[in-house]
Symmetry: D2
Subunit: 164 residues, 4 copies
């Protein structure tokens, strides 16, 4: 999860690497599905190594969706689709920050999901740790994210859905 | 689309064959994702020939979902998820009838989607033809459904998303 | 509940009378809130006698809403708001028919709500009686609707929310 | 907007005063509608002076709703109803903080709504100012909130819906 229009070039570059790394492990990349920003970059990274990508779209058609989203869930529910993105994910990795992204982190915490804050500033980390306590983890780079996901999987066994 | 609890054994048998036939053509089977009725049977049929299946779930977790749904979209929006199922589909095939199913057909017509009514009674066909006109087609068996989908694809070119 | 753009002049006239009659009894008129069709006419009727009106809007702002909706619930969820209209109502009265209206009747039945079909044709009545059984009642005019609502209230005691 | 179960006694006391003050000015109090926490207290305050209250409920029935919500909008959409609460409001006043509340603030900013943070700590204020810039205002007590609402109304003219 991360900003669309307001994503920085750095956000997008890291999102691409993150998408690649997630897909390499056989995990599915699910995003908000739009054609720009962190969403698009992460799915592009996943596609680069043959991974499976899902875009949960806000509009009532797929016109502004990313070509890197293989499966397009068309919700027609605007920002209410952020809840669906969160509920359909096993772990939420957050890169960059904007209002829509913040709502996803908050909804993830509300829904008792694990959240990994990647490359976030001190204020953001402290705010979400205050409301999310143990659900909120912090990572400084893509390797740390992957390590934390593996750690979560080892403990919870339930396991993320894998894509063969 | 079709009934859950109220599906007849006949509905389920035909749904299984329909799921198989759809998957054989490389198309994705998307249903309401629950573990019984037409939803489950259609996905089971698709899985039987190695097809890809998506379940758009009503609850806020995947506890009552079908094991035949490979990709589980968790909406937490109850019957409002019926709109998402419809908007995310290229063509809606309807088998069996119940209140939830009827809402999906109505929402599909409202959203200008193509609807194929499979094995429906005269009252149902006349009701939906009255409100849906050209969007509503009728089929008597799985072969007719597949023929109509191919016909739709040939005309619209846009093409259903294929799964390789 | 009833059609917007596709409402006939007759539908709108009866909707106005229905809105008046409902409001006169101190009950709230809740509709889809748009500025035309049965929705607008019913709220206009209610306002004519000083009743309270609620519009549950599909868009993410209130730009196309009826000026006769005193309370505007802005959902931003398109046709998914039909579920909210239904769940927030005690009794659903249906006048005229179109795809959106049909989805409301189906969702009302699915949600175990009482539905009164006003002035509907034989096909519509038989279709919804088939899927809704005892939940579906039929009325030929506004007086019959009011009588049925009173009957429902007398039996269920719970009572509709009254507006003083 | 504010926490339910996790509201402090102080939050609830201020919410009651805030609800009273809002209602005294003829404005409607809209909350998440549940029977506890800031939601219930604010509506109780409004009712204390004869104000109009609306509860936008998460469940598919009104069983756990506050008796202080006169108008109950039943969404059946869980936390996705937070978007509806926000879109249906002219100004969002936030008292106390929890995950659900944070999602409402974020969705309000995303939807270009004015947000007043009442009695929030430094971290919370800085986080939401970072993502919401000019949309986010800060107030230390109920009087400041009322002053800011009046100021907003004077500038925007559009005016909040008043309840006579």
């Amino acid at each position: 999860m991360g900003p669309g229009e307001n994503a920085t070039p750095d956000d997008n570059e890291i999102a691409f690497e993150l998408g690649r790394a997630i897909a390499k492990h056989g995990w599915i990349v699910l995003t908000g599905g739009r054609s720009f920003g962190v969403m698009d970059a992460a799915m592009k990274g996943a596609r680069d190594v043959g991974g499976l990508t899902i875009g949960v779209l806000p509009d009532s058609n797929d016109r502004n969706s990313s070509e890197n989203a293989q499966i397009k869930i068309v919700t027609g529910m605007g920002s209410a689709r952020n809840l669906i993105s969160v509920l359909s994910s096993n772990i939420i990795v957050v890169l960059g920050m904007a209002a829509g992204t913040a709502s996803e982190v908050a909804l993830a915490i509300k829904s008792n999901k694990k959240v990994i804050l990647l490359n976030q500033d001190e204020i953001t980390i402290r705010f979400f740790k205050n409301i999310g306590t143990y659900r909120v983890m912090v990572a400084k780079n893509v390797d740390e994210v992957i390590f934390q996901i593996k750690d979560y999987l080892a403990v919870h066994q339930a396991g993320l859905t894998t894509h063969e």
